[in-house]
C-alpha cells in the first residue's frame, strides 16, 4: 500500500469521483420517468463510476497481479456495458415497453412501422398475383 504520498491522494480522489458518478446513476435509475432513460443512466454513469473505483484500486496496490486484474475489470466493463445495454434496450422495444409521453423522436418506431406496412403490401401483392 502507498501511504501518505501523492498517489494516496489520487486514489482518494478517484474513489470520490466514482462514488459521485454511482450515486448519480442510482438517482437516475430511481427518478427517470422512462425505462430507456433509466437504461442510459445506469449504462453510462455507473460504468464510469465503477471504472473510476477500479482505477483507484489499480493505483492503490503495489502487487502487479492485482493491478492487472483491476485494469481488466475496466476493459471488460467498457466492452460489455454498451453490448448489454443495447441488447436490453432492443428487447424492451420489441416487448413494447412504453416510451415517455414527452418523447419527441422515435425513429426506430417509424422504421418498424414502415417495414411492417411494406411487408403487408408485399403479401397483398403476392396474393393478388396468385389469384390473377
Amino acid at each position: 500500500m502507498t501511504d501518505g504520498t501523492w498517489l494516496d491522494w489520487i486514489v482518494a480522489a478517484m474513489i470520490f469521483a466514482g462514488a459521485a458518478f454511482s450515486v448519480l446513476a442510482a438517482i437516475g435509475v430511481m427518478r427517470m420517468p422512462d425505462f430507456y432513460m433509466r437504461l442510459q443512466a445506469t449504462t453510462k454513469a455507473a460504468t464510469l463510476g465503477v471504472a473510476c473505483v477500479a482505477i483507484a484500486a489499480a493505483l492503490a496496490f503495489d502487487d502487479p497481479s492485482i493491478t492487472t486484474k483491476s485494469i481488466l475489470v475496466v476493459a471488460f466493463l467498457f466492452l460489455t456495458a454498451p453490448v448489454s445495454a443495447h441488447a436490453l434496450g432492443i428487447a424492451a422495444y420489441v416487448a413494447k415497453i412504453p416510451l415517455w409521453e414527452g418523447t419527441l423522436i422515435d425513429e426506430m418506431g417509424a422504421d418498424l412501422r414502415a417495414a411492417e406496412a411494406a411487408s403487408v403490401a408485399d403479401a397483398a401483392r403476392e396474393s393478388s398475383s396468385d389469384e390473377g
Binding site: I15, M30, T42, G49, T80, S84, V94
Partner: protein
Amino acid sequence: MMGLPSMLLMATISGTAATAGLTVFSFATVLCFYRLILGPTLPDRVVALELIANLLTASLMLHGIAGPAPNSIRVALVLALVNFVGTIGFSVYVKRKGVREGGISTDD
C-alpha cells in the same frame, strides 16, 4: 494525522476514503432497491439488478482497498463477468416473451 481521532490514527488516506466511499455506495444501492421493488415492468427490474451488481463490484474493490483483503478484487472481476452474462440472458428472455405475447404488461 495528529489532530485526528484515534479511530483514524492507524488509517491511510486511501483507506479512509475507501471506507467513506463504501458508505456512499450503500446509499446508492438502497436507491436502486426502490426501482427493483416498485419498477413497473420486468426490464426496469433488470436494469436495477444490473446497477446493483455494478455497485457491488465497486464496493468489493473498495473493500479490497480499505482492508487487508486484496482477494476481493478477484471476486469483483468474476462478479462483473457474471453480471454481463445475466443481463444478456434476461434480455433474450424479455425479447422472446415480448414477441410471443405481443408485449409485456406492467403487471409482470
